[in-house]
Protein backbone atom coordinates (compact mmCIF):
# COMPACT_ATOMS: atom_id res chain seq x y z
CA UNK A 1 0.00 0.00 0.00
CA UNK A 2 2.76 2.38 0.86
CA UNK A 3 4.25 2.02 -2.54
CA UNK A 4 1.37 3.48 -4.48
CA UNK A 5 1.17 6.51 -2.28
CA UNK A 6 2.69 9.52 -3.88
CA UNK A 7 5.44 10.63 -1.59
CA UNK A 8 5.42 14.19 -0.25
CA UNK A 9 8.22 14.69 -2.72
CA UNK A 10 5.95 14.02 -5.68
CA UNK A 11 3.33 16.29 -4.18
CA UNK A 12 5.92 18.98 -4.14
CA UNK A 13 6.68 18.11 -7.70
CA UNK A 14 3.02 18.71 -8.52
CA UNK A 15 3.21 22.11 -6.89
CA UNK A 16 6.33 22.75 -8.90
CA UNK A 17 4.55 21.92 -12.13
CA UNK A 18 1.81 24.37 -11.19
CA UNK A 19 4.48 26.96 -10.66
CA UNK A 20 5.98 26.18 -14.06
CA UNK A 21 3.11 28.07 -15.56
CA UNK A 22 4.49 31.24 -14.08
CA UNK A 23 8.01 30.14 -14.84
CA UNK A 24 7.05 29.60 -18.46
CA UNK A 25 5.99 33.18 -18.91
CA UNK A 26 8.94 34.39 -16.94
CA UNK A 27 11.12 32.44 -19.37
CA UNK A 28 9.34 33.98 -22.34
CA UNK A 29 9.78 37.41 -20.81
CA UNK A 30 13.49 36.84 -20.35
CA UNK A 31 13.91 35.27 -23.76
CA UNK A 32 12.11 38.21 -25.30
CA UNK A 33 14.29 40.59 -23.34
CA UNK A 34 17.49 38.94 -24.62
CA UNK A 35 16.33 38.84 -28.23
CA UNK A 36 15.16 42.43 -28.16
CA UNK A 37 18.36 43.59 -26.51
CA UNK A 38 20.22 42.50 -29.59
CA UNK A 39 17.63 43.82 -32.00
CA UNK A 40 16.95 47.17 -30.43
CA UNK A 41 19.89 49.19 -29.15
CA UNK A 42 18.17 51.26 -26.49
CA UNK A 43 16.09 48.38 -25.19
CA UNK A 44 18.59 46.94 -22.78
CA UNK A 45 18.92 49.41 -19.96
CA UNK A 46 17.82 49.58 -16.39
CA UNK A 47 16.10 52.81 -17.18
CA UNK A 48 14.07 51.29 -19.99
CA UNK A 49 13.20 48.27 -17.91
CA UNK A 50 11.98 50.37 -15.02
CA UNK A 51 10.64 53.53 -16.56
CA UNK A 52 9.75 52.17 -19.96
CA UNK A 53 8.27 48.76 -19.38
CA UNK A 54 7.71 48.66 -15.66
CA UNK A 55 5.97 51.97 -15.36
CA UNK A 56 3.59 51.41 -18.22
CA UNK A 57 2.85 47.90 -16.97
CA UNK A 58 2.05 49.21 -13.52
CA UNK A 59 -1.43 50.48 -14.27
CA UNK A 60 -2.42 47.40 -16.17
CA UNK A 61 -1.04 45.20 -13.40
CA UNK A 62 -3.08 46.95 -10.75
CA UNK A 63 -6.28 46.55 -12.74
CA UNK A 64 -5.41 42.98 -13.67
CA UNK A 65 -5.00 41.97 -10.02
CA UNK A 66 -8.64 42.83 -9.39
CA UNK A 67 -9.76 41.11 -12.55
CA UNK A 68 -7.79 38.03 -11.59
CA UNK A 69 -9.80 37.82 -8.40
CA UNK A 70 -13.08 38.25 -10.23
CA UNK A 71 -12.14 35.78 -12.93
CA UNK A 72 -11.06 33.19 -10.39
CA UNK A 73 -14.63 33.08 -9.10
CA UNK A 74 -15.79 32.49 -12.65
CA UNK A 75 -16.96 36.08 -13.14
CA UNK A 76 -15.82 38.95 -15.31
CA UNK A 77 -15.64 42.70 -14.81
CA UNK A 78 -15.95 44.77 -17.95
CA UNK A 79 -16.65 47.93 -16.00
CA UNK A 80 -13.12 48.55 -14.66
CA UNK A 81 -12.30 51.27 -17.19
CA UNK A 82 -15.50 53.18 -16.52
CA UNK A 83 -15.16 52.72 -12.78
CA UNK A 84 -11.65 54.10 -13.09
CA UNK A 85 -12.92 57.14 -14.99
CA UNK A 86 -15.68 57.80 -12.49
CA UNK A 87 -13.35 57.55 -9.51
CA UNK A 88 -10.76 59.70 -11.27
CA UNK A 89 -13.08 62.57 -12.15
CA UNK A 90 -14.72 62.61 -8.74
CA UNK A 91 -11.39 62.49 -6.95
CA UNK A 92 -9.87 65.12 -9.22
CA UNK A 93 -12.86 67.38 -8.94
CA UNK A 94 -12.73 67.24 -5.16
CA UNK A 95 -9.04 68.06 -5.15
CA UNK A 96 -9.61 70.92 -7.51
CA UNK A 97 -12.21 72.29 -5.15
CA UNK A 98 -9.73 72.19 -2.33
CA UNK A 99 -10.62 68.95 -0.55
CA UNK A 100 -7.52 67.65 1.24
CA UNK A 101 -5.66 65.23 -1.02
CA UNK A 102 -5.88 62.27 1.31
CA UNK A 103 -9.60 62.68 1.77
CA UNK A 104 -10.16 63.04 -1.96
CA UNK A 105 -8.12 59.90 -2.59
CA UNK A 106 -10.12 57.99 -0.03
CA UNK A 107 -13.37 59.18 -1.55
CA UNK A 108 -12.19 58.14 -5.03
CA UNK A 109 -11.35 54.69 -3.69
CA UNK A 110 -14.74 54.55 -2.03
CA UNK A 111 -16.35 55.39 -5.36
CA UNK A 112 -14.52 52.39 -6.83
CA UNK A 113 -15.70 50.25 -3.95
CA UNK A 114 -19.32 51.29 -4.39
CA UNK A 115 -19.15 50.71 -8.14
CA UNK A 116 -17.79 47.22 -7.45
CA UNK A 117 -20.39 46.61 -4.77
CA UNK A 118 -23.19 47.39 -7.20
CA UNK A 119 -21.73 44.91 -9.66
CA UNK A 120 -21.33 42.31 -6.95
CA UNK A 121 -24.85 42.68 -5.63
CA UNK A 122 -26.37 42.47 -9.09
CA UNK A 123 -24.38 39.30 -9.71
CA UNK A 124 -25.08 37.60 -6.41
CA UNK A 125 -28.46 38.89 -5.23
CA UNK A 126 -30.25 39.40 -8.51
CA UNK A 127 -28.27 36.55 -10.05
CA UNK A 128 -27.59 38.14 -13.40
CA UNK A 129 -24.69 37.01 -15.57
CA UNK A 130 -21.52 38.95 -14.65
CA UNK A 131 -20.91 39.76 -18.29
CA UNK A 132 -24.26 41.49 -18.69
CA UNK A 133 -24.11 43.24 -15.35
CA UNK A 134 -20.70 44.73 -15.98
CA UNK A 135 -21.52 45.49 -19.60
CA UNK A 136 -24.43 47.51 -18.30
CA UNK A 137 -22.47 49.24 -15.58
CA UNK A 138 -19.56 49.82 -17.95
CA UNK A 139 -21.92 51.98 -19.97
CA UNK A 140 -23.62 53.44 -16.95
CA UNK A 141 -20.50 54.45 -15.01
CA UNK A 142 -19.05 55.97 -18.16
CA UNK A 143 -22.21 57.98 -18.57
CA UNK A 144 -21.93 59.11 -14.95
CA UNK A 145 -18.32 60.14 -15.39
CA UNK A 146 -19.10 62.07 -18.56
CA UNK A 147 -22.12 63.83 -17.16
CA UNK A 148 -20.31 64.60 -13.91
CA UNK A 149 -17.75 66.70 -15.75
CA UNK A 150 -19.88 67.57 -18.75
CA UNK A 151 -17.34 65.70 -20.83
CA UNK A 152 -14.50 68.06 -19.87
CA UNK A 153 -11.19 66.91 -18.49
CA UNK A 154 -10.20 68.16 -15.04
CA UNK A 155 -6.83 69.69 -15.44
CA UNK A 156 -5.26 71.21 -12.41
CA UNK A 157 -4.38 68.60 -9.85
CA UNK A 158 -2.50 69.59 -6.69
CA UNK A 159 1.23 69.09 -6.89
CA UNK A 160 1.26 67.23 -3.61
CA UNK A 161 -0.97 64.59 -5.13
CA UNK A 162 1.04 64.38 -8.32
CA UNK A 163 4.23 63.95 -6.35
CA UNK A 164 2.73 61.44 -3.95
CA UNK A 165 1.55 59.01 -6.61
CA UNK A 166 3.59 60.05 -9.60
CA UNK A 167 7.01 60.49 -8.03
CA UNK A 168 9.78 58.08 -7.21
CA UNK A 169 10.96 56.33 -4.10
CA UNK A 170 14.54 55.04 -3.93
CA UNK A 171 14.81 55.84 -7.60
CA UNK A 172 11.85 53.62 -8.48
CA UNK A 173 8.67 55.16 -9.83
CA UNK A 174 5.94 55.01 -7.23
CA UNK A 175 3.36 53.46 -9.58
CA UNK A 176 5.69 50.52 -10.13
CA UNK A 177 6.42 50.18 -6.44
CA UNK A 178 2.71 50.33 -5.70
CA UNK A 179 1.94 47.70 -8.32
CA UNK A 180 4.59 45.36 -6.95
CA UNK A 181 3.40 45.90 -3.40
CA UNK A 182 -0.17 45.17 -4.43
CA UNK A 183 0.92 42.03 -6.26
CA UNK A 184 2.65 40.84 -3.10
CA UNK A 185 -0.28 41.80 -0.91
CA UNK A 186 -2.91 40.14 -3.06
CA UNK A 187 -0.81 37.04 -3.62
CA UNK A 188 -0.51 36.58 0.12
CA UNK A 189 -4.18 37.38 0.57
CA UNK A 190 -5.19 34.75 -1.97
CA UNK A 191 -2.91 32.04 -0.72
CA UNK A 192 -2.72 32.61 2.99
CA UNK A 193 -6.08 33.81 4.13
CA UNK A 194 -9.35 32.06 4.60
CA UNK A 195 -11.06 34.54 2.33
CA UNK A 196 -8.53 33.91 -0.41
CA UNK A 197 -9.00 30.18 -0.13
CA UNK A 198 -12.75 30.57 -0.39
CA UNK A 199 -12.38 32.71 -3.47
CA UNK A 200 -10.26 30.03 -5.11
CA UNK A 201 -12.57 27.23 -4.02
CA UNK A 202 -15.61 29.14 -5.23
CA UNK A 203 -14.29 29.23 -8.72
CA UNK A 204 -13.77 25.48 -8.62
CA UNK A 205 -17.25 24.62 -7.43
CA UNK A 206 -19.43 27.33 -5.95
CA UNK A 207 -22.23 24.95 -5.02
CA UNK A 208 -19.93 22.71 -3.01
CA UNK A 209 -18.61 25.71 -1.14
CA UNK A 210 -22.10 27.00 -0.47
CA UNK A 211 -23.19 23.63 0.89
CA UNK A 212 -20.17 23.67 3.16
CA UNK A 213 -21.99 26.43 4.98
CA UNK A 214 -20.15 29.34 3.48
CA UNK A 215 -21.82 32.54 2.41
CA UNK A 216 -20.55 32.43 -1.15
CA UNK A 217 -22.38 35.61 -2.13
CA UNK A 218 -20.31 37.60 0.28
CA UNK A 219 -17.04 36.41 -1.18
CA UNK A 220 -18.13 36.84 -4.76
CA UNK A 221 -19.27 40.38 -4.02
CA UNK A 222 -15.95 41.03 -2.34
CA UNK A 223 -14.05 40.23 -5.53
CA UNK A 224 -16.03 42.86 -7.43
CA UNK A 225 -15.37 45.39 -4.70
CA UNK A 226 -11.66 44.60 -4.87
CA UNK A 227 -11.76 45.00 -8.61
CA UNK A 228 -13.53 48.35 -8.29
CA UNK A 229 -11.14 49.69 -5.66
CA UNK A 230 -8.09 48.62 -7.61
CA UNK A 231 -9.47 50.18 -10.78
CA UNK A 232 -9.99 53.41 -8.85
CA UNK A 233 -6.48 53.21 -7.46
CA UNK A 234 -5.03 52.60 -10.93
CA UNK A 235 -6.95 55.65 -12.12
CA UNK A 236 -5.45 57.78 -9.36
CA UNK A 237 -1.97 56.58 -10.25
CA UNK A 238 -2.62 57.42 -13.87
CA UNK A 239 -4.00 60.89 -13.30
CA UNK A 240 -1.13 61.70 -10.99
CA UNK A 241 1.17 60.98 -13.92
CA UNK A 242 -0.90 62.64 -16.60
CA UNK A 243 -1.76 65.61 -14.45
CA UNK A 244 -5.32 65.49 -15.70
CA UNK A 245 -8.42 63.40 -15.19
CA UNK A 246 -10.70 62.92 -18.13
CA UNK A 247 -13.99 61.10 -18.18
CA UNK A 248 -12.98 58.97 -21.15
CA UNK A 249 -10.00 57.63 -19.28
CA UNK A 250 -9.69 53.89 -19.00
CA UNK A 251 -11.52 52.79 -22.10
CA UNK A 252 -10.14 49.47 -23.18
CA UNK A 253 -8.66 48.73 -19.76
CA UNK A 254 -10.86 45.71 -19.32
CA UNK A 255 -9.43 44.05 -22.39
CA UNK A 256 -5.78 44.69 -21.51
CA UNK A 257 -6.33 43.58 -17.95
CA UNK A 258 -8.16 40.42 -18.94
CA UNK A 259 -5.40 39.73 -21.43
CA UNK A 260 -2.72 40.19 -18.76
CA UNK A 261 -4.57 37.91 -16.37
CA UNK A 262 -5.16 35.21 -18.96
CA UNK A 263 -1.64 35.38 -20.38
CA UNK A 264 -0.52 35.00 -16.79
CA UNK A 265 -2.35 31.71 -16.42
CA UNK A 266 -5.73 32.65 -14.99
CA UNK A 267 -8.46 30.52 -16.49
CA UNK A 268 -11.57 32.33 -17.67
CA UNK A 269 -13.65 29.38 -16.54
CA UNK A 270 -12.66 30.08 -12.97
CA UNK A 271 -11.04 28.24 -10.13
CA UNK A 272 -7.50 28.84 -11.19
CA UNK A 273 -5.39 31.94 -11.23
CA UNK A 274 -2.55 33.79 -9.65
CA UNK A 275 -1.68 37.38 -9.16
CA UNK A 276 2.00 37.07 -10.00
CA UNK A 277 0.91 35.75 -13.39
CA UNK A 278 -1.10 38.92 -13.94
CA UNK A 279 2.04 40.95 -13.28
CA UNK A 280 4.06 38.85 -15.69
CA UNK A 281 1.31 39.06 -18.28
CA UNK A 282 1.17 42.83 -17.98
CA UNK A 283 4.95 43.05 -18.25
CA UNK A 284 4.93 40.90 -21.37
CA UNK A 285 2.31 43.06 -23.04
CA UNK A 286 4.14 46.26 -22.07
CA UNK A 287 7.46 44.95 -23.25
CA UNK A 288 5.90 44.20 -26.58
CA UNK A 289 4.52 47.70 -26.91
CA UNK A 290 7.79 49.20 -25.76
CA UNK A 291 9.87 47.30 -28.28
CA UNK A 292 7.55 48.08 -31.13
CA UNK A 293 7.71 51.77 -30.26
CA UNK A 294 11.48 51.72 -29.88
CA UNK A 295 11.83 49.98 -33.22
CA UNK A 296 9.57 52.57 -34.75
CA UNK A 297 7.38 49.92 -36.32
CA UNK A 298 4.68 51.37 -38.55
CA UNK A 299 1.13 51.43 -37.30
CA UNK A 300 -0.20 48.56 -39.41
CA UNK A 301 2.74 46.33 -38.74
CA UNK A 302 2.48 47.02 -35.04
CA UNK A 303 -0.90 45.39 -35.15
CA UNK A 304 0.41 42.40 -37.06
CA UNK A 305 3.36 42.01 -34.75
CA UNK A 306 1.25 42.35 -31.60
CA UNK A 307 -1.09 39.61 -32.72
CA UNK A 308 1.68 37.26 -33.71
CA UNK A 309 3.68 37.80 -30.56
CA UNK A 310 0.74 37.34 -28.18
CA UNK A 311 -0.19 34.07 -29.78
CA UNK A 312 3.42 33.04 -30.21
CA UNK A 313 4.14 33.61 -26.55
CA UNK A 314 1.17 31.52 -25.55
CA UNK A 315 2.21 28.73 -27.89
CA UNK A 316 5.71 28.69 -26.45
CA UNK A 317 4.28 28.77 -22.97
CA UNK A 318 2.02 25.88 -23.85
CA UNK A 319 4.83 23.71 -25.10
CA UNK A 320 7.35 24.54 -22.42
CA UNK A 321 4.81 23.45 -19.86
CA UNK A 322 4.70 20.14 -21.69
CA UNK A 323 1.63 18.00 -22.26
Amino acid sequence: MQKIQPSPKSANRAALVERLREAGILAILLLGAVVFSFLVPSFFSVDNAINGIGLSAAINTIVAIGLTYVIITGGIDLSVGSTAALAAVIGADLMQRGTPVLLAVLIALAVGAVAGLVNGLLVTRVQLAPFIVTLGTMTFYRGLALSYTGGQPILSLPDGFKRALGGTVLGLPIPLVAALALVALFTVFLKFTRTGQYILALGGNAEAVRLSGINTNRYITLTYVISGVLAAFAALVLIAQLGAAEPILGSGWELSAIAAAVVGGTSLSGGKGNVVGALLGALLLSMLQNVLTLMGVQAFYQLLATGVIIIGAMVIDRYTRGR
Binding site: L242, S251, Q289, Q302
Partner: protein, 312 residues
Protein backbone atom coordinates in the same frame (compact mmCIF):
# COMPACT_ATOMS: atom_id res chain seq x y z
CA UNK B 1 -11.14 59.76 -58.10
CA UNK B 2 -11.72 60.04 -54.37
CA UNK B 3 -13.10 63.30 -53.03
CA UNK B 4 -10.64 64.98 -50.72
CA UNK B 5 -11.35 68.48 -49.39
CA UNK B 6 -7.63 68.96 -49.06
CA UNK B 7 -7.15 68.88 -52.82
CA UNK B 8 -10.60 69.90 -54.03
CA UNK B 9 -10.61 72.75 -56.58
CA UNK B 10 -14.12 73.99 -55.83
CA UNK B 11 -13.25 75.62 -52.56
CA UNK B 12 -13.78 78.84 -50.69
CA UNK B 13 -12.44 80.07 -47.42
CA UNK B 14 -15.21 80.64 -44.91
CA UNK B 15 -14.24 84.25 -44.26
CA UNK B 16 -14.86 84.97 -47.95
CA UNK B 17 -18.51 83.85 -47.82
CA UNK B 18 -20.01 87.25 -47.06
CA UNK B 19 -17.77 88.95 -49.60
CA UNK B 20 -18.65 86.52 -52.37
CA UNK B 21 -22.24 85.55 -51.60
CA UNK B 22 -23.62 88.48 -49.64
CA UNK B 23 -25.21 88.58 -46.22
CA UNK B 24 -26.74 85.46 -44.73
CA UNK B 25 -30.37 85.19 -45.89
CA UNK B 26 -33.14 84.89 -43.32
CA UNK B 27 -34.33 81.30 -42.99
CA UNK B 28 -38.02 80.37 -43.18
CA UNK B 29 -39.75 80.09 -39.83
CA UNK B 30 -39.48 76.77 -38.02
CA UNK B 31 -36.55 75.40 -39.98
CA UNK B 32 -34.74 72.71 -38.04
CA UNK B 33 -31.21 71.58 -38.59
CA UNK B 34 -29.85 68.33 -37.19
CA UNK B 35 -26.29 67.56 -36.24
CA UNK B 36 -24.94 63.98 -36.33
CA UNK B 37 -21.76 64.26 -34.34
CA UNK B 38 -18.88 61.85 -34.21
CA UNK B 39 -18.93 61.50 -30.43
CA UNK B 40 -18.93 63.79 -27.46
CA UNK B 41 -16.06 62.19 -25.66
CA UNK B 42 -13.46 64.58 -27.06
CA UNK B 43 -13.67 68.24 -26.21
CA UNK B 44 -13.27 69.13 -29.89
CA UNK B 45 -16.70 67.75 -30.68
CA UNK B 46 -18.28 69.46 -27.75
CA UNK B 47 -16.91 72.76 -28.95
CA UNK B 48 -18.23 72.07 -32.41
CA UNK B 49 -21.62 71.44 -30.89
CA UNK B 50 -21.39 74.71 -29.00
CA UNK B 51 -20.73 76.33 -32.37
CA UNK B 52 -23.84 74.73 -33.85
CA UNK B 53 -26.01 76.04 -31.06
CA UNK B 54 -24.42 79.46 -31.30
CA UNK B 55 -24.91 79.48 -35.05
CA UNK B 56 -28.52 78.45 -34.57
CA UNK B 57 -29.19 81.44 -32.33
CA UNK B 58 -27.25 83.76 -34.57
CA UNK B 59 -29.03 82.80 -37.80
CA UNK B 60 -32.45 82.04 -36.37
CA UNK B 61 -32.79 78.29 -36.81
CA UNK B 62 -33.26 75.50 -34.33
CA UNK B 63 -30.33 73.09 -34.15
CA UNK B 64 -30.36 69.67 -32.44
CA UNK B 65 -27.09 67.84 -32.31
CA UNK B 66 -26.69 64.24 -31.26
CA UNK B 67 -23.73 61.97 -30.88
CA UNK B 68 -23.36 58.23 -30.59
CA UNK B 69 -22.01 57.16 -27.26
CA UNK B 70 -18.63 56.06 -28.53
CA UNK B 71 -16.25 56.93 -31.28
CA UNK B 72 -16.20 53.60 -33.02
CA UNK B 73 -19.83 52.65 -33.30
CA UNK B 74 -20.13 53.10 -37.00
CA UNK B 75 -23.35 51.26 -37.61
CA UNK B 76 -24.78 52.94 -34.55
CA UNK B 77 -24.00 56.33 -36.02
CA UNK B 78 -25.61 55.34 -39.29
CA UNK B 79 -28.76 54.24 -37.47
CA UNK B 80 -28.67 57.51 -35.60
CA UNK B 81 -28.51 59.40 -38.89
CA UNK B 82 -31.31 57.28 -40.33
CA UNK B 83 -33.36 57.96 -37.26
CA UNK B 84 -32.78 61.69 -37.59
CA UNK B 85 -33.68 61.66 -41.28
CA UNK B 86 -36.99 60.20 -40.19
CA UNK B 87 -37.53 63.15 -37.89
CA UNK B 88 -37.62 65.59 -40.82
CA UNK B 89 -34.69 67.97 -40.46
CA UNK B 90 -34.20 70.31 -43.41
CA UNK B 91 -30.45 69.96 -43.23
CA UNK B 92 -28.13 67.50 -41.55
CA UNK B 93 -24.65 68.42 -40.43
CA UNK B 94 -22.80 65.14 -40.30
CA UNK B 95 -19.38 64.28 -38.92
CA UNK B 96 -18.91 60.67 -39.95
CA UNK B 97 -16.88 58.30 -37.80
CA UNK B 98 -15.27 56.89 -40.90
CA UNK B 99 -15.18 57.90 -44.51
CA UNK B 100 -17.87 55.49 -45.55
CA UNK B 101 -20.11 54.65 -42.65
CA UNK B 102 -22.76 57.30 -43.39
CA UNK B 103 -22.93 56.87 -47.16
CA UNK B 104 -26.35 55.17 -47.25
CA UNK B 105 -27.69 57.86 -44.95
CA UNK B 106 -26.53 60.48 -47.42
CA UNK B 107 -28.35 58.70 -50.22
CA UNK B 108 -31.52 58.41 -48.18
CA UNK B 109 -31.39 62.00 -46.99
CA UNK B 110 -30.96 63.24 -50.53
CA UNK B 111 -34.72 63.24 -51.06
CA UNK B 112 -35.67 64.98 -47.84
CA UNK B 113 -32.81 66.96 -46.48
CA UNK B 114 -29.59 68.60 -47.35
CA UNK B 115 -26.42 66.96 -46.08
CA UNK B 116 -23.30 68.83 -45.13
CA UNK B 117 -20.18 66.97 -44.10
CA UNK B 118 -18.56 68.80 -41.21
CA UNK B 119 -15.07 67.56 -40.37
CA UNK B 120 -13.10 65.32 -40.15
CA UNK B 121 -13.72 62.06 -41.93
CA UNK B 122 -14.81 62.70 -45.49
CA UNK B 123 -17.81 61.07 -47.08
CA UNK B 124 -16.90 60.95 -50.78
CA UNK B 125 -20.49 61.51 -51.84
CA UNK B 126 -21.16 64.49 -49.61
CA UNK B 127 -22.38 67.52 -51.60
CA UNK B 128 -20.67 69.97 -49.32
CA UNK B 129 -17.86 69.88 -46.89
CA UNK B 130 -17.28 72.39 -44.12
CA UNK B 131 -14.11 72.06 -42.19
CA UNK B 132 -10.48 72.73 -42.01
CA UNK B 133 -7.93 71.39 -44.40
CA UNK B 134 -6.40 68.52 -42.50
CA UNK B 135 -3.32 68.40 -44.65
CA UNK B 136 -2.55 72.02 -43.80
CA UNK B 137 -2.68 71.21 -40.07
CA UNK B 138 0.49 69.25 -40.52
CA UNK B 139 1.98 71.79 -42.89
CA UNK B 140 1.84 74.68 -40.47
CA UNK B 141 3.72 72.85 -37.72
CA UNK B 142 6.29 71.60 -40.22
CA UNK B 143 6.82 75.10 -41.55
CA UNK B 144 7.41 76.38 -38.05
CA UNK B 145 10.00 73.69 -37.44
CA UNK B 146 11.69 74.35 -40.79
CA UNK B 147 12.00 77.97 -39.87
CA UNK B 148 13.11 77.45 -36.27
CA UNK B 149 15.57 74.60 -36.76
CA UNK B 150 17.28 75.16 -40.06
CA UNK B 151 20.26 73.18 -38.78
CA UNK B 152 18.08 70.16 -38.33
CA UNK B 153 16.94 67.98 -35.47
CA UNK B 154 15.08 64.82 -34.49
CA UNK B 155 11.32 64.82 -34.79
CA UNK B 156 8.73 62.28 -33.61
CA UNK B 157 5.14 62.02 -34.80
CA UNK B 158 2.39 60.67 -32.58
CA UNK B 159 -0.35 59.52 -34.93
CA UNK B 160 -4.05 59.09 -34.33
CA UNK B 161 -5.82 55.85 -34.98
CA UNK B 162 -4.41 53.91 -37.91
CA UNK B 163 -6.49 54.27 -41.05
CA UNK B 164 -8.43 57.40 -40.07
CA UNK B 165 -8.55 60.22 -42.64
CA UNK B 166 -7.60 63.07 -40.31
CA UNK B 167 -4.65 61.14 -38.92
CA UNK B 168 -3.45 60.20 -42.38
CA UNK B 169 -3.71 63.69 -43.82
CA UNK B 170 -2.22 65.54 -40.90
CA UNK B 171 0.73 63.17 -40.81
CA UNK B 172 1.14 63.35 -44.55
CA UNK B 173 1.08 67.14 -44.65
CA UNK B 174 3.60 67.25 -41.86
CA UNK B 175 6.00 64.73 -43.33
CA UNK B 176 5.83 66.02 -46.87
CA UNK B 177 6.55 69.57 -45.80
CA UNK B 178 9.26 68.65 -43.37
CA UNK B 179 11.07 66.69 -46.07
CA UNK B 180 12.16 70.03 -47.51
CA UNK B 181 15.00 70.03 -45.03
CA UNK B 182 16.57 66.56 -44.83
CA UNK B 183 18.43 67.57 -41.69
CA UNK B 184 15.12 67.54 -39.86
CA UNK B 185 14.77 63.85 -39.44
CA UNK B 186 11.59 62.03 -38.49
CA UNK B 187 12.95 59.38 -36.17
CA UNK B 188 9.66 57.82 -35.24
CA UNK B 189 6.05 57.93 -36.32
CA UNK B 190 3.86 55.72 -34.18
CA UNK B 191 0.15 55.54 -33.41
CA UNK B 192 -1.37 56.27 -30.01
CA UNK B 193 -5.01 55.94 -31.05
CA UNK B 194 -6.07 59.45 -29.93
CA UNK B 195 -5.50 58.25 -26.36
CA UNK B 196 -3.78 60.32 -23.69
CA UNK B 197 -2.48 57.36 -21.72
CA UNK B 198 -1.02 55.65 -24.79
CA UNK B 199 0.56 58.87 -26.00
CA UNK B 200 2.13 59.33 -22.60
CA UNK B 201 3.79 55.94 -22.45
CA UNK B 202 4.77 56.00 -26.13
CA UNK B 203 6.41 59.39 -25.66
CA UNK B 204 8.29 58.15 -22.62
CA UNK B 205 9.67 55.26 -24.62
CA UNK B 206 10.68 57.57 -27.46
CA UNK B 207 12.35 60.07 -25.15
CA UNK B 208 14.42 57.30 -23.71
CA UNK B 209 15.55 56.20 -27.12
CA UNK B 210 16.08 59.74 -28.46
CA UNK B 211 17.03 61.81 -25.42
CA UNK B 212 17.77 64.85 -27.55
CA UNK B 213 14.50 64.86 -29.42
CA UNK B 214 13.73 68.25 -30.89
CA UNK B 215 9.98 68.08 -31.16
CA UNK B 216 6.85 65.98 -31.09
CA UNK B 217 4.07 66.55 -33.56
CA UNK B 218 0.80 65.02 -32.36
CA UNK B 219 -2.32 64.43 -34.43
CA UNK B 220 -4.53 65.85 -31.68
CA UNK B 221 -4.38 67.79 -28.45
CA UNK B 222 -5.41 65.00 -26.11
CA UNK B 223 -2.36 63.04 -27.17
CA UNK B 224 -0.20 66.16 -27.10
CA UNK B 225 -1.15 66.80 -23.48
CA UNK B 226 -0.16 63.25 -22.60
CA UNK B 227 3.15 63.80 -24.40
CA UNK B 228 3.70 67.02 -22.44
CA UNK B 229 3.53 65.06 -19.20
CA UNK B 230 6.07 62.58 -20.54
CA UNK B 231 8.35 65.43 -21.55
CA UNK B 232 8.00 66.96 -18.10
CA UNK B 233 8.72 63.64 -16.44
CA UNK B 234 11.89 63.30 -18.50
CA UNK B 235 12.99 66.78 -17.47
CA UNK B 236 12.97 68.03 -21.05
CA UNK B 237 10.30 70.66 -20.73
CA UNK B 238 11.25 73.56 -22.96
CA UNK B 239 13.93 71.49 -24.68
CA UNK B 240 11.68 69.12 -26.54
CA UNK B 241 8.83 70.99 -28.18
CA UNK B 242 5.33 69.55 -28.32
CA UNK B 243 2.70 70.46 -30.88
CA UNK B 244 -0.89 69.37 -30.86
CA UNK B 245 -3.83 69.80 -33.18
CA UNK B 246 -7.45 70.98 -32.60
CA UNK B 247 -7.13 73.88 -30.19
CA UNK B 248 -9.14 72.60 -27.27
CA UNK B 249 -9.33 74.70 -24.10
CA UNK B 250 -6.96 72.48 -22.20
CA UNK B 251 -4.36 72.99 -24.91
CA UNK B 252 -4.68 76.76 -24.55
CA UNK B 253 -4.23 76.50 -20.80
CA UNK B 254 -1.16 74.38 -21.26
CA UNK B 255 0.32 76.79 -23.78
CA UNK B 256 -0.26 79.66 -21.40
CA UNK B 257 1.56 77.73 -18.69
CA UNK B 258 4.46 77.31 -21.07
CA UNK B 259 4.14 73.55 -21.32
CA UNK B 260 2.58 72.75 -24.66
CA UNK B 261 4.51 74.58 -27.36
CA UNK B 262 1.65 75.09 -29.72
CA UNK B 263 -1.51 73.72 -31.24
CA UNK B 264 -2.99 74.03 -34.67
CA UNK B 265 -6.33 75.49 -33.75
CA UNK B 266 -9.05 74.72 -36.22
CA UNK B 267 -11.55 76.80 -34.27
CA UNK B 268 -14.28 74.25 -33.66
CA UNK B 269 -16.77 76.80 -32.32
CA UNK B 270 -16.31 78.94 -35.36
CA UNK B 271 -16.49 75.87 -37.57
CA UNK B 272 -19.83 75.02 -36.03
CA UNK B 273 -21.17 78.50 -36.70
CA UNK B 274 -19.93 78.41 -40.28
CA UNK B 275 -21.60 75.03 -40.82
CA UNK B 276 -24.96 76.45 -39.73
CA UNK B 277 -24.39 79.51 -41.88
CA UNK B 278 -23.63 77.33 -44.88
CA UNK B 279 -26.75 75.29 -44.26
CA UNK B 280 -28.88 78.41 -44.07
CA UNK B 281 -27.38 79.77 -47.29
CA UNK B 282 -27.87 76.48 -49.14
CA UNK B 283 -31.44 76.15 -47.91
CA UNK B 284 -32.07 79.63 -49.25
CA UNK B 285 -31.00 78.35 -52.65
CA UNK B 286 -27.53 79.82 -52.89
CA UNK B 287 -24.96 77.93 -54.94
CA UNK B 288 -21.79 77.52 -52.94
CA UNK B 289 -18.51 75.82 -53.80
CA UNK B 290 -18.17 72.23 -52.68
CA UNK B 291 -15.68 72.87 -49.92
CA UNK B 292 -15.93 75.66 -47.40
CA UNK B 293 -12.59 75.76 -45.70
CA UNK B 294 -12.64 76.97 -42.12
CA UNK B 295 -9.69 78.84 -40.70
CA UNK B 296 -6.86 77.33 -38.80
CA UNK B 297 -3.81 78.77 -37.14
CA UNK B 298 -0.79 77.64 -35.29
CA UNK B 299 -1.33 79.05 -31.82
CA UNK B 300 1.70 79.53 -29.65
CA UNK B 301 2.40 81.36 -26.44
CA UNK B 302 2.87 84.71 -28.12
CA UNK B 303 -0.37 84.44 -30.07
CA UNK B 304 -2.65 82.87 -27.47
CA UNK B 305 -4.24 86.16 -26.54
CA UNK B 306 -5.07 86.94 -30.13
CA UNK B 307 -6.90 83.71 -30.77
CA UNK B 308 -8.55 83.23 -27.45
CA UNK B 309 -11.47 85.49 -28.38
CA UNK B 310 -12.73 82.75 -30.75
CA UNK B 311 -13.05 80.38 -27.83
CA UNK B 312 -16.20 81.95 -26.44
Amino acid sequence: QTFSPDTEKSRVASDQLVKQFGAVPKPAAGVQIGGVMKALSNEYWQLLRTGYLKGGTKYGVKVDAQAPSNESDQIGQLSMMNTMIGKGYKALLISPQSDVNLLPGIVRADKTSLVINVNDAVAPTAQHFVGNIQYDNGVSVANYLLKTFPKGGQIAVIEGQAGVYAAKQRTLGFKTTLAKNPALKIVASVPADWDRQKAFSTARDLLRRYPDLTAFYCNNDTMALGVVEAVKASGRLGKTLVFGTDGINAAYDSIKKGELTGTVDSFPVLTGEVAVEVAVRLLAGQKLPKVIATPQALVMKDSVAKYEQFKK
